[in-house]
């Protein structure tokens, strides 16, 4: 069989992208496209898994059984998202155990937002509203991303994130109708999470080295700044209805642009947190590492049992 010339592969790939069709696992793809996707999907999966921690801490303390059930189910959803994102990465040849090890030893990243602490139960609501809201802005366009398995995983992720955002907002609405103390808790949580949430969209466009190529490949559909603007525009009226103040004196409607103007987040803070110096980086990774290491004997046992069963059934078949 004659090998397909590389130039032909490239042109089929580029044609697929140009026609806005999906690249599937068995299709030829440039190595750099594959590597970029593995990096992005792994980072996304890790974010889901590490993202379980800040809210997961409140499941055992949730102040009503209804809130406990909602939060427990939400954090479980995040584990599910992690699972199907790792599976999407595996279609590109990546291995889940290897990705987990890369997360633990710092070679692969996760979203910096999860390096901030959750101080009160209001944080659960604000994370749902802001963090899941920002994730939705980022992820809805990914439902049309050029790599098929990733896009299809995102469809389900987005539906669940949307539900989570509503649950978060509904908690805050309930708290705002409660006591003065509760209203103060909500405002405090809003003050702490607003800026880190804006940073979730990544650095500004003129300082985002990987963006252009990801856009050209159809992996990424909108720039960081466009998505950040969309989030601000979506959130401002929700904050007004809720009765909280977003902590940005520069925030105002710009009639001419048809968008809200807002101040720039502290990009140095983002760099510090990304590089490992956030309030909870060490704690988050230590927890993930401990779970992985403490579970090693269980995974070994499951593998040993599976091997024994296979051997037994082979012997049974041979007899």
């Amino acid at each position: 069989m004659q090998e397909t010339p590389a130039s032909m592969n490239t042109s089929v790939f580029e044609d697929t992208i140009a026609r806005d069709q999906r690249i599937e696992p068995r299709d030829w793809m440039p190595d750099a496209y594959r590597a970029t996707l593995v990096r992005q999907i792994a980072q996304h999966a890790h974010s889901e898994i590490i993202g379980m921690q800040p809210e997961g801490e409140w499941i055992t303390r949730a102040p009503s059984l209804r809130r406990k059930a909602i939060l427990f189910a939400k954090v479980q959803d995040e584990a599910g998202h992690g699972l199907y994102l790792y599976s999407a990465a595996e279609t590109l040849g990546a291995d889940r155990t290897d990705m987990t090890e890369r997360l633990i030893d710092g070679r692969q990243k996760y979203s910096s937002i999860f390096n901030y602490p959750t101080r009160t139960f209001a944080d659960v609501g604000v994370i749902g509203w802001f963090v899941d809201g920002a994730a939705i802005c980022n992820q809805v366009p990914l439902c049309r991303t050029s790599y098929g398995p990733y896009g299809r995983a995102m469809v389900r992720v987005c539906k669940e994130e949307s539900f989570h955002q509503r649950q978060g907002y509904e908690l805050l609405l309930t708290m705002m109708r409660g006591t003065d103390e509760q209203r103060a808790m909500v405002q405090d949580a809003v003050d702490r999470w607003w800026w880190p949430s804006l940073m979730m969209f990544g650095p500004p466009d003129d300082d985002s080295p990987n963006s252009a190529r990801s856009m050209a490949w159809g992996i990424k559909r909108h720039s960081n700044d466009v998505l950040r603007q969309r989030f601000v525009d979506m959130t401002v009226p929700q904050a007004e209805k809720l009765g909280v103040t977003l902590p940005d004196p520069g925030l105002r409607w710009n009639e001419e642009r048809g968008h809200h103007d807002f101040s720039a987040p502290d990009w140095d803070e983002l760099k510090r947190v990304v590089s490992g110096d956030g309030p909870c980086n060490a704690e988050r990774i230590a927890r993930r590492r401990a779970a992985h290491e403490e579970g090693a004997w269980v995974r070994r046992a499951a593998a040993a049992h599976a091997a024994k069963r296979t051997a037994r059934s082979r012997r049974g078949a041979a007899a």
Binding site: S64, Q76, L83, F121, M175, T179, A303
Partner: protein, 287 residues
């Protein structure tokens, strides 16, 4: 302004839970039927509700700590099922005992001595083997109880039990599969399973002699016999039986007292202190 208007994008109808959702038994005839002793019914619902809540709390402690993502999901599933059972049972208890209390009054505003869960449920989490072993015992036993209660003379309890049966069948399957994997896996996993079974054996008698649901149709001797037999079969598959006796676990060292009378180990108080911390710190708040 209505609640619906508050969901800025105007499609509040897509909410699965309305914001006014407070009564899990809403729309159901909650009258206690003639011939059913309301006190027995309330005690049964409270005891089974407390077992479920305390177990769910222990399972929630696994969150982000499971050995594999699939087990993270499974443990959360089981925890959520049990939490759901607790909520329904508390709602029924609140009607049967005449107080009209809602679920949160039972979960958040009772002290440890007022809890009626069996002590096995409150023991600290331990390792994955202990979690599997405890869940195996509790789910086999609770399944036998709920199957019997599915024909209880109180239709509300019967319906809750029937719903629980479906859930518990999965819990039992998950725990049994892991018991076999760990028992048959490596030397370390088998040793850990044996240690876990030894650890829970002294608490088993409290379960096997429990008569909480007796007057509602779950006959203790029948439940105990079935529990022993099922445990025997699972432990046999796992290579963990110590003898061919159908009492696979040595319960001779059982510990006197019962959580059903409010006699608990020192482990329940800290569990509840954590569970109740936020609710009690803000008693006038609405969540």
């Amino acid at each position: 302004m209505t609640d619906e208007d508050l969901y800025v994008d105007g499609d509040g109808a897509r909410w699965a839970f309305g914001t006014g959702f407070t009564d899990p038994l809403h729309g159901i005839d909650q009258t206690v039927p003639d011939g059913v002793d309301a006190e027995d019914l309330a005690a049964c619902c409270l005891a089974l509700g407390d077992d479920a809540l305390v177990s769910a709390q222990r399972l929630a402690e696994w969150c982000t700590r499971a050995p594999e993502l699939e087990e993270e999901l499974a443990l959360a599933n089981i925890g959520l099922d049990l939490l759901g059972q607790a909520r329904l049972l508390y709602a029924r208890a609140g009607r049967a005992d005449g107080t009209g209390h809602g679920e949160d009054a039972y979960a958040y505003f009772r002290d440890p001595e007022d809890f009626r869960n069996i002590r096995l449920a409150e023991l600290p989490g331990g390792d994955f083997a202990f979690t599997v072993a405890r869940l195996l015992v509790l789910s086999v036993w609770r399944l036998a109880v709920c199957e019997a209660l599915a024909t209880a003379p109180d239709p509300v309890l019967a319906a809750i039990a029937a719903k629980s049966v479906k859930e518990l069948a999965y819990h039992r399957r998950w725990a049994a599969e892991w018991t076999v994997r760990l028992g048959d896996g490596t030397e370390e996993s088998a040793a850990r399973m044996r240690a876990a079974l030894d650890e829970l054996a002294p608490w088993l008698d409290e379960l096997l002699s429990d008569s909480t649901a007796a007057r509602l149709g779950a006959e203790p001797a029948a439940v105990a016999a079935r529990t022993r037999l099922e445990l025997f079969h699972v432990l046999a598959d796992a290579g963990l039986n110590r003898s061919t006796d159908v009492s696979p676990l040595d319960t001779s060292a059982f510990l006197p007292g019962s959580g059903r009378n409010g006699q608990h180990t020192p482990h329940l108080a800290p569990l509840l202190a954590e569970l109740q911390s936020v609710a009690r710190a803000h008693p006038d708040a609405s969540w």
